[in-house]
């Protein structure tokens, strides 16, 4: 039967990959603010390091950070199908229930963050149980992502696990493959959380010092965990991933330097750049591991330039309108 064939790419794979990596980096930036921020605020709160009003000020930001994390996470999830084809979906099905629990857990996290934020507004106090619940949820989501995406890089593992159990209650047993990477991500989140705490709380010496400490320590520990993980990936030195990593490390150091000088905007730009490089390196590692079974450029190219142009125009307009609304919001304060 002569029906349209859906196995095509409607834009060059390089373009789709750039969009995927860019939106994924933005998602990570927001997610790291949230995860790292929650960890830092909790530690500070439990140690009675800060006064409650300062903590409450940060906690009020968390629901917005959660909204940004989710919103910015949708686009990379969409492009995933085009960049890695069937790999991630297949792995997600094998871990179906764990995967489906992610949005359910995210609902709980979101409400917990609103609860603590609204309580802070009302009473000026921090709700530690709500923050702990949110942290537990965020850790579950991040670990599930690491488990599924790691499984997605190993087609044989997906086949083997599926052959044994089709119920969707299968957790990726190859923990050695992703625990270090997950740890690297958590430590990286603490580093980025440190950046945000320092930048937002720049007027409070305690907040800035705390942010600075977490940024530095987070970067150092994330580098150790990341290096340990990379040693488990054979053939890495022969790919462009290594250059992505080198540039990423340089940009991180630059960001730290500017952070110390309280040049937060420039520091943030470099931080985003370093995250983009890390995401690129991760992408290259994934392609390296999938090299025997999948080549992203093997799919037929049938352009849809009209719809793509519509997307691009709407994207630019949406960003401009968001900037305009932020200006409206801050105009009153000025």
């Amino acid at each position: 039967m002569n029906l349209p064939n859906y196995e095509f790419l409607s834009a060059p794979i390089q373009l789709v990959t750039v969009l995927h990596l860019l939106t994924l980096s933005l998602h990570f930036l927001a997610m790291n603010l949230l995860l790292g921020g929650v960890i830092i605020v909790l530690i500070a709160g439990l140690r009675k390091q800060w006064d409650d009003p300062t903590l409450v000020k940060f906690v009020k930001l968390f629901p917005v950070a959660m909204a940004a994390t989710i919103t910015l996470g949708i686009a990379p999830l969409l492009f995933l199908q085009l960049v890695y084809h069937r790999q991630v979906y297949a792995a997600a099905i094998v871990s179906g229930w764990f995967w489906l629990l992610v949005p359910a857990v995210a609902v709980v996290v979101y409400y917990a963050l609103y609860r603590t934020s609204l309580k802070g507004e009302r009473t000026g106090k921090l709700s530690v149980p709500a923050l702990l619940l949110a942290l537990a949820g965020l850790l579950y989501i991040s670990l599930t992502y690491s488990s599924v995406f790691s499984m997605a890089e190993q087609p044989k593992l997906i086949h083997d696990l599926y052959a044994q159990d089709q119920s969707g209650w299968v957790w990726n047993p190859a923990t050695g493959d992703y625990l270090l990477r997950w740890l690297h991500m958590i430590l990286g989140a603490i580093a980025v959380g440190g950046y945000w705490i320092g930048a937002i709380g720049k007027d409070s010496p305690v907040a800035f010092q705390t942010g600075k400490r977490f940024y530095m320590v987070g970067v150092a520990l994330a580098a150790v965990a990341g290096s340990a993980y990379l040693m488990t990936v054979p053939g890495l030195m022969h790919t462009r991933a290594i250059w992505g990593l080198v540039v990423g490390i340089i940009l991180t150091l630059g960001s730290l330097h500017l952070f110390f000088k309280k040049k937060f905007c420039l520091s943030g730009v470099l931080l985003l750049g370093s995250m983009l490089m890390m995401v690129y390196a991760r992408h290259m590692v994934r392609l390296l591991r999938l090299a025997d079974t999948y080549r992203p450029d093997s799919m037929r190219f049938a352009p849809q330039w009209g719809p793509f142009a519509l997307f691009l125009v709407c994207f630019v307009v949406a960003l401009a309108v968001v900037a305009y609304m932020v200006r409206l919001l801050t105009a009153k304060r000025a």
Binding site: L78, Y89, P103, Y162, L328, L329
Partner: protein, 496 residues
């Protein structure tokens, strides 16, 4: 068949409905509620109406908590669940409509940013700026409906796209425009319903009466618009359907019509009780609205059967374009993820999306007391059954493998040992005949049994495969046969 199969005990339909119905119920409110907030705020500010502004601030908080949390995450949940339940259809939708989804995402970014700024800026922003943000929110939210509606209606009525494969042909399909207008009406109706829930918690009095009647007007206007446009929408669907409309979707549609009357009645009641509207009436309205949406979405999903994308991909992930390949090579050759149990793999990919063995749409009671040969005949003739079932394109040997898989899991005692003698004839008819010849349906043969002798009916049972294409041979034992013949005679007498 290129993906693993998620073999959950819960029915796929239930899982999908649980997430999707909650999502559409909130997401339509997210659009209508935005319009309600900004229009009402604009009027309230013009008249310096402080009580209304205070009410709107409460509503905005409720609005943000419901839409940004539950609304957004159930939306993400739909992405997750469709990827698990029908990954191939999801893949086809993404490859064809990635820029449609991506455009919708840009509107979503604007919508979320506007919602947050609108909420947090309530006491901080200048009135004019706040209203501008409110309008921006509504425009982005409605534009996301405009895009999503194109993809949703494409799945139901792909129109010329099936021939051209052109993005816009599929997007502006035959049900696109009625879909947009009808859903806009639903958004307005839900804005009224949700606002009534918040209004019902106000203290009894003049202000409550005013805000309740105002919200009832929204509800009634939205309901009227939805009802009028729904006829256009339905006629557009019926004009393009290539399959018969079954009792299921018709029942869902009737339920939706009755629930619309209930909603209208409750709105009138709310109008009359405006000064003291109890929470229970507002809650009943919400429940009726949810049930209405459930019925409507159930109609939309079931009228599309046996397809998930009409004319393109069947509900079980079988691709229409590959039917020749399936017939030639069989299903097993196409299944990428195998478990070593071919019968189970075939059952999963051919049947399991819609049927469980003993839970949702169970097959066990449908085949208890029968045999492998009978089950295999039913599998091969699935498209002839009294339901819009996807045809089975696999080989005869594969149909036998599915039958063997099911047979192993059913009650293998003969029917006369499972059911009491008094009920045996009816049960035998239900299991062996009513899958196609249910009394009162298009293929009801009751009249043809009128005046038939026992010998005539036994003769008919001996030659079933010769009567029509796909009729399974009769394989029951003598006791069951005698009871069935007696039951057929009783049907003939009733039909006379």
């Amino acid at each position: 068949m290129m993906y693993p199969f998620w073999d959950v005990t819960t029915g796929y339909g239930i899982l999908m409905a649980c997430i999707a119905i909650v999502h559409v119920f909130i997401s339509h409110f997210a659009i209508g509620g935005g319009l309600y907030l900004v229009v009402t705020e604009q009027m309230a500010r013009r008249h310096n109406d402080e009580p209304t502004l205070a009410f709107l601030q409460k509503l905005a908080k409720f609005f943000v908590l419901v839409t940004l949390v539950a609304g957004v995450l159930t939306g993400v949940g739909i992405w997750f669940i469709i990827g698990l339940l029908n990954p191939l259809a999801t893949e086809a939708l993404i490859h064809n409509y990635v820029w449609g989804w991506a455009t919708e995402w840009t509107f979503f970014v604007g919508e979320i940013a506007a919602a947050l700024i609108y909420y947090y800026g309530w006491n901080k922003m200048a009135a004019k700026a706040h209203i501008i943000v409110g309008w921006i929110y509504f425009i982005f939210a409605w534009l996301s409906l405009v895009i999503i509606n194109g993809i949703l209606t494409f799945m139901l009525t792909p129109g010329k796209w099936l021939a051209t494969g052109n993005f816009w042909d599929g997007f502006f399909n035959p049900t696109y425009w009625p879909g947009v207008i009808m859903r806009t009406g639903v958004c307005v109706m839900l804005a009224g319903l949700y606002a009534l829930l918040v209004a019902s918690r106000q203290a009894a009095g003049e202000f409550k009466a005013r805000i309740v009647r105002y919200s009832v007007t929204w509800g009634l206007f939205g309901l009227a618009l939805t009802t009028v446009v729904q006829r256009w929408y339905l006629s557009a669907i019926l004009a393009t359907l290539t399959t018969k409309v079954l009792p299921g979707p018709i029942l869902a549609l009737r339920s939706a019509a009755w629930l619309a009357i209930v909603i209208g009645g409750l709105l009138m009641l709310a109008w009359m009780l405006a000064r003291r509207l109890p929470v229970i009436v507002a809650a009943l309205l919400m429940l009726s609205g949810l049930a209405w949406f459930g019925s409507f979405e159930s109609f939309r999903e079931s009228v599309r059967k046996p397809y998930v994308i009409t004319g393109y991909i069947y509900g079980n992930g079988v691709e229409v374009a590959k039917t020749d390949k399936y017939k030639k090579e069989g299903y097993l050759a196409q299944i990428t993820y195998r478990t070593g149990d071919d019968g189970a793999d075939l059952f999963r990919h051919a049947c399991r999306s819609c049927h469980t063995l003993d839970g949702y749409r169970p097959l066990k009671p449908a085949f208890d007391g029968t045999d492998q040969k009978f089950i295999a005949s039913i599998v091969r003739g699935a498209h002839l059954l009294n339901a819009n079932m996807p045809p089975f394109f696999g080989t005869a040997a594969e149909a036998d493998q599915i039958a063997a898989y099911i047979y192993k899991r059913i009650d293998q005692r003969p029917l006369d040992q499972i059911y009491p003698a008094a009920d045996l004839g009816r049960q035998a008819f239900t299991i062996r005949c009513a899958k196609c010849h249910k009394p009162g349906t298009a293929h009801d043969k009751s009249k043809s049994f009128t005046g038939q002798s026992t010998d005539d009916l036994n003769g008919m049972l001996d030659n079933l495969p010769e009567l029509a294409e796909g009729m399974p041979a009769y394989t029951g034992n003598a006791t069951e046969r005698a009871a069935l013949v007696a039951y057929l005679q009783s049907l003939g007498k009733v039909a006379k």
